[in-house]
Each structure stands twice: as C-alpha cells, then as structure tokens.
Symmetry: C2
Subunit: 352 residues, 2 copies
C-alpha cells in the first residue's frame, strides 16, 4: 500500500464505519412490523441459513422468491381490485357506446348500484372482465389501468388501492432483497393490470410480474405496430402457477408466499426442491384491522393449503398475531406515491 493510499483509506474509514453501522440498523429493523413470534423467526432463520456459508447456502443467482398478489400483498376483499376496475371500465365503455347497455352486465356496472352489481352471476362478471380487458392495445390498457388506480379508493379503508398493501409484506420484500433475493409476483390477476402499479407499490419491475395474460395480436394501427389484447386468456392460478414460473423465471424458487388454495401448487413446487426452503401462508384472521376469512370464503378460499401446511412445514402467518400493523403509515404512503407517475423505485432493485 503506498503512503498516499494509506492516508486516503484512513480518511475514509469513519465514513465506511458509519455506513456499515446504518446498514446494520436498517437490517435489524427490516421486519419492524412483525411481532417477535414463530413467523418472524422462521423468516429470519431461513434467510440466515441460505445466506451464510455452510450446508444450506444458496448462491444469490438462485435466491428466487415468488409472491402471490391478491390477499398476499394487497387487500382482496370485498371484491378483487381488478373486478372493481372492470366494473368502472365497463361503466365508462357503456357511456361511450350506449349500445352496450343492451347487455345486463354492462347495465348493472353503469348503474353503480351495489345491489345490481352484487346480483351479477360469476359468469356475468367474467364476461365483464374479458370485455374490458380485450380489443385494446396493451399500451392503451396500461394507461386506463393507471388512470383508474390514480383515483379509485378502497371502499372500507378509504385509501387508494395501491396503498392498501400490507406493510409487513413490503418489509419482507425489502428484507429478502437486502439479502440478494430476486423477487417475483406470481398471481391470478392480469399481468398488465399489476404492471400498472407493481413497480410503484412493491418496487417489482414489469418483467418480474407474472399473471393471467391475454393472448395478443401483432398488428398495425394508425401506422404503428401494436399489440392488441384478444379475449383469449391464459390463466395463472393453482396448477398453472408452477408451469408459468418455469416459463418466466426458468428456476425453481426457494421461497413462496401465498394466502389461498390458488397458491397451493406454487408452495408445493417451491418447497419440494432440495435444500432449505420456505413456504409462507398469510392467514386472514383479523376482522378488526382487515378481514377474517379462509375455508368458506368465495374470494381467497384457504382450505386445502391450510390442511397441508403443517405436514409440509409451511409457516402460517396470523395477520392478527404476527403483524404489528397492517397498512403503511400515511406519511410513507404519501412518499411512496407522489408523484403517481414517478418512475422511482421505492423498494426496488437497481436496474442492471
């Protein structure tokens, strides 16, 4: 070491020390909204095991984590956010094209009357979802989703949907990233709908969002080549999740988090590989702060996966017992979402 280099190193040392210290503090507070219980300890034990040299060590390139979205990262009750979006978009479409009012589903959506909407059959709702998600370019669809998400609020929590996300899960995502995990969303929701906010809400870039997808047609419109969404959909739920993980990620994850039977196969796939694995189920048992539902619920049914959890060694997270808080504090939400069209990555990985 030359003399000048030695002097420089000596000058920098205090800065490095402060930086290391603050990194240590950040890490200790990474799961601040998690009570000190079996769930938090399972997460910390797993992360320590796969990141510490030894038998359970996993190289960073193989630290793949997958998260379901509805009910795992954000609220899915009383109706899936995407259904709320579909109803709003259907009402808008009916306004622009009154001939659509001939269809009862569009009429109900346009009425805005909760009773008429609640009376819609599952088939009618699915029809609305398909009709509002197709025959539109991917770029126009993304713009419509963004415009709706910028204003629409959750009916009970009176906050914009993309801020009705679970603070402990945001911390878990950050904690995994701090330990060189690569985080993906694998959800039954429409991929392009999620991409309209996943970067802002979770720091997950568009290419790491896997979901139900509409088949698209490559065509020229107005002199420009575009992708047009067709009514044909490839669903990403239950036994379709592992094949989609193979298609998009190309590796078996070592961590999976879900909250319903729609995540059963994803949990099975992630946790049946060799070596240390972690499967996590968010159990909605907190009617006061959020909702309480599992086996009997039509939305987010959690039945078979709950039966399998103990035998498979999955960690069942009690929203009531394991989480100090459910939603991000208002100040954090303001920071996170202003301006709404920002390309900042609040919790995201740096690109490249």
């Amino acid at each position: 070491m030359t003399r000048s280099l030695r002097l420089l190193v000596r000058a920098i040392a205090p800065i490095v020390a402060v930086w290391l210290l603050s990194a240590g503090i950040a890490s200790a507070e990474a799961l601040a909204s998690w009570n000190d219980g079996p769930a938090r300890r399972a997460i910390e034990g797993f992360v320590a095991a796969v990141t510490t040299p030894g038998a359970d060590f996993v190289p960073p390139a193989e630290r793949i984590a997958v998260f379901d979205n509805d009910g795992t990262l954000w609220v899915e009750q009383p109706i899936y956010t995407e259904v709320a979006f579909s109803l709003a978009r259907a009402a808008q479409m009916a306004k622009a094209d009154p001939s659509l009012m001939a269809k009862p589903a569009f009429r109900a959506a346009a009425s805005g009357d909760p009773k008429q909407i609640a009376a819609l059959s599952e088939e009618a709702l699915l029809h609305l979802v398909v009709a509002t998600h197709s025959n539109v370019t991917t770029e126009d669809f993304a713009a419509a989703a963004k415009a709706w998400l910028a204003k629409a609020q959750h009916p009970r929590f009176h906050r914009r949907y993309e801020t009705a996300v679970y603070q402990p899960m945001l911390e878990l995502i950050s904690y995994l990233r701090e330990h060189d995990f690569n985080v993906f969303i694998v959800s039954g929701g429409d991929a392009d709908f999620m991409r309209a906010y996943a970067d802002r809400a979770y720091g997950v870039p568009a290419d790491q969002v896997i979901g139900t997808s509409s088949k698209t047609r490559f065509e020229k419109r107005g002199g420009r080549w575009v992708l047009v969404r067709t009514p044909e959909m490839a669903i990403d739920d239950k036994a379709e999740k592992p094949p989609n993980i193979g298609l998009h990620i190309g590796q078996r994850p070592i961590f999976a988090a879900g909250n319903s039977d729609g995540d059963l196969q994803m949990l099975q796939y992630a946790t049946s590989g060799p070596g240390r694995r972690l499967g996590l189920i968010v159990h909605h048992d907190d009617a006061q702060r959020e909702y309480a539902y599992d086996r009997a619920s039509k939305i987010g049914t959690l039945d078979k996966a709950l039966d399998e959890a103990a035998g498979a060694g999955w960690t069942v997270v009690s929203m009531k017992g394991d989480w100090k808080t459910v939603f991000p504090p208002a100040a954090a939400v303001r920071r996170q979402t202003a301006p709404p069209e920002s390309t900042a990555r609040p919790t995201g990985r740096p690109r490249n």
Copy 2:
C-alpha cells in the same frame, strides 16, 4: 456542511476523481471491437440521445433492449447449435434405449455419420428436437444441456459453442448495461436450452431469456413436485416475438438487434414506438472470419428485413466492415468460462 464533513469530502475527492476518470476510459473503450463507422456511430448516438436530459431522454426503467440469439449473439452455421445438441442427445438416448433405433432419425443421429445426418428431412430433424426436448423434467433437461455445452465444440472454430459468441455484441451488451439498459434475449431457440449458458456467456439471467418453450406438466415424481416438458411447444419466432415480449417484458423495447427475417416483427415493434429508437441487423458478409449468407440461406434467412431496413432506418452491421474481431480472445474465454459451472456474472447486472 460541518467542518468534519468538509474535511472528509476533501479527503475523498481525489479517489472520486480517479474513479470518474477510469469510468470514462472504460466507456470510451466499451465498443473497442467496433470500427469507427456508421454502425458504431449509430449506436453511440442513440445511447447518448436517450441517456442525456432533453427531448429524447428515456428513464432507465424504460431502457429495454432485446437481442435475438442465433446468428446475432453466437454462430448459427453450419447448423443451429440446438440441432447439434439434439443430435447428440438422440444418439445418447438411442444408446440407453435401443428400441429407438427403429426410427430412421435416431439411427442417423446415432451413426454420427455427417452424410446420413445431412440427408435427414426437416420433418425428421424437428421430430428429433421434440423427442429430445420432451418427457423430461425441466431440471434434468437443464443438466443435460449444461453437460453437453461443457464439452461440445463448434466443428470449424474448435471452441466450445458458448465461446463462439461475437465479441462486438458482448461489448454492445456491456455498453448498454453501463447506460442502465435492461437486456433481454428474445430468440427462436428453446428458452431452457439458452438458460443453460446465457448467464455465463452473456450475463443474462434465466428470467431475462425468452424463447421457444415447451408446455410443462406439474406432477409428482419420486416424491417431489416437478415440471415435466411435454411435446407441445410455443414457438418464439417472427410474428410471435412481439406478443412474447409483451407477455414476458410488459413494455415496448427501445432497442432491438437481430440478423434474420425471424427478427423482422421484433424490429418493427421496437422501432415503431414514439421517441428515439434503434434497430440493428447483423449482416453475415464475412466468409473468411465467419460465414457469408443472407437471402438464399435456409438458416438465418435475411431477405424481407434487409429490404425494409433502409426505409425503417435500421442500422445494418457489416460483420466484415464494422467488426475488428469476431470472437473473444482466447484469454477472455478462459476467464469467462472457468470454472464452467461458476455462477459468476462476467458481464451481468448485479442482482437486486
């Protein structure tokens, strides 16, 4: 600024200056294998435009670059590498299961006789590709591809296939990444086959490799949940490339590089969005150092895309005129590929 902070900044300044200087030098040499000609200038002009504040500026999150693989990043003559792999794997399968020798295609593959192999019809070759790529778990298939790639050599260049890559294109990938581009492969090749070496060869992680994919079946084998590749394939070529870009990346790229008519639609899609774009076609016109082929070639046919290039403003790269060297120097290859199973990312982005 406090006094102590001021002192520290003063102490660090020389280091920062040296660091900035070396970064500048690295950047100037980033395209070292490119001659100073219109292609290099088009690349540098485009990158400067989209990364400099002003009318053409593109935020890092939208700097998406897509590269074809066969003939764009590595050699595709005299036969696609994946066909060479299929022939070798077919021979191996026939050895393990002699009943396969009843099929003429397997017999030809097992003979190793270039004449018999050359006489195979396209249908017979496709049959071999499907047979060698299906009824195997994704993990066993990846292991087979890795084992073959670790040994097999290109018949003319006598280097392992994954080192028969184009040095100027490796530099281009690094140059784009230095400027915060996110680099994807979008190829007609099998995604899992490419994933067996793309990280090592190009620094492109598995989840950023898009290709032809086998539909997989989620099932339990030997007590463990696995994905089994079926014979049903989703091709990723020509007009299928843009929809696959939408499915996997979820954004329109601003840069696309290809070498054949299989890349025509990808080039159209990437370059017909608003703002500054760059489309690049690698033209194989160098029989001495590599191969010379375009309109009449069965492999890597370049005809329609060449016709459209001038009107669309795409840059046609002359391998002969624009590239100082074609392949990486032997020393770099040794460094890049030793040990073959390394998870190091020679040119890759850091994860998370």
